[in-house]
Amino acid sequence: MSETPPAQRRPAGELEASVLAALWSAEGPLSPAGVQSALGTPLARTTVTTILTRLHGKGAVSRSRAGRGYVYSPIHDSAGLTARRMRSELDKQDDRGTALARFVSQLTTEDERLLRSLLDEPDGAAPDGPPAAPLPGPGAAP
């Protein structure tokens, strides 16, 4: 039904977003090869390197020498505070759904159970998907 060509003619902004996201979700600094394998879409190594250089030029990532090349990491600025302040500011609004459409809303216990049963049930659909990482376990709550 969908005829999406993988990573074909994606706008440069989307590629930059994917690369930055890969850096943020990594444990530590990544080399271009590391970024390449941490991307959800296949990209040529040269493309990855170009994008990383561009991001560094913009000041969105920092880099340091490692061996013959560079490793890149996102910039953890002091603005974490700002983010937290905004969250508390948004939480103050009695209904926060007006302006921002959030990706997921809060789950009730029943929702959580239902969701797990929906996602955990082995099915024949999409067998060629990437190896699915396990869902966050039910024991995570204190």
């Binding site: 921002l100 809303s105 996602l119």
Partner: protein
């Protein structure tokens, strides 16, 4: 004043449940347009009806009557009824205006707060990452449009599912979904019953973005997993408050319903769009249409009625 003027005020009682029922059976995009259109039309008719009631009373004020060269005795209707009703309508109209204004201001403040936070961080492309460990993600409309994601959300999702998340947020931005939300929020400030359209609209917009994302990444199941994983990661750790006992699977929250809809081959198994051909559904669709049409016609009729009574009252003094 004739009875028609009351119809727009009462019509949401019928129209809101009918529109909700119809929206459940429509594809998400059509449902979003239906709910938004209904809300806007019904709110406009409500405001018009209140305005007409107010005008009918205001015409009885001697200065207004003098201004319009009206002869008060010829102005139809019972002053003992018209005047207090007009006062109430005026108060309601002022209340509406205040609520709409407040809502619009709050909307702007909310967007500004989010924009300030996003601007504090360097963006790459359309993405802005907030260094916050709590998983959260949303589309931030503005110039330029931004996808805002917390570091916690990025760490919770594997690479392919991150792409699904981005595709979802970009669909919100490309479809200008925030304008739908704003329209219905403002409409429900006009008529409290229209608030019932907000939750179904939010759901339809999420489904719309989900379907776009699934088409974009080319994998419905992957998209479903991304939503499920994000929701499970984002759940509050002090363990969700229980919903009352009546809330069971049938009234499951929006996230499980979205996931189930994506896991189904094309549309939710219970409501494929073809069902609109069924007679029951066509009846509901006709009912929604009739409600909106009736509301509009009643408001127009009441306006015509007021106009003709003004002309009668004018005709005499003019002679």
């Amino acid at each position: 004043m004739i009875f028609a003027v009351w119809i727009p005020l009462l019509m949401p009682l019928l129209a809101v449940p009918a529109a909700r029922r119809l929206a459940e059976s429509l594809p998400p995009r059509a449902a979003a347009w239906l709910l938004t259109g209904c809300a806007a039309a019904l709110a406009a008719c409500t405001a018009a009806a209140l305005g007409l009631l107010l005008a009918a009373g205001a015409l009885r004020l001697p200065p207004v009557a003098a201004l319009g060269h009206l002869s008060l005795p010829l102005l139809g209707g019972e002053p003992a009824v018209t005047v207090p009703v007009a006062c109430a309508a005026g108060a309601a109209l002022a209340g509406c205006a205040a609520a709409v204004g407040r809502r619009a201001l709050r909307h702007r403040a909310e967007l500004r707060a989010a924009r300030r936070a996003a601007d504090a961080h360097t963006a790459a492309g359309d993405l802005c990452v907030l260094p916050d460990s709590a998983p959260d993600a949303y589309a931030l409309p503005g110039r330029p449009d931004r996808v805002v994601v917390t570091a916690g959300m990025l760490r919770a999702l594997p690479p392919a599912e991150r792409e699904a998340l981005f595709a979802h947020e970009r669909a919100h931005l490309a479809g200008r979904h925030h304008l739908f939300l704003l329209t219905v929020a403002l409409a429900s400030a006009c008529h409290p019953l229209l608030r019932g359209l907000r939750a179904p609209l939010a759901y339809a917009l999420e489904r719309w973005a989900d379907e776009s994302a699934a088409a974009r990444v080319g994998d419905r199941r992957l998209t479903a997993r991304a939503i499920g994983r994000a929701a499970l990661a984002a759940r509050p750790h002090e363990t969700a408050r229980h919903r009352p006992g009546m809330a069971l699977a049938a009234t499951a929250g929006p996230v499980p319903r979205r996931v189930a809809a994506l896991l189904a081959p094309a549309a939710a198994p219970g409501h494929p769009p073809i069902r609109l051909r069924s007679r029951g559904l066509r009846l509901v669709a006709a009912a929604v249409l009739a409600c909106v049409a009736c509301s509009t016609a009643a408001a127009l009729d009441a306006a015509a009625d007021l106009h003709s009574s003004v002309e009668t009252a004018q005709g005499d003094t003019g002679r």
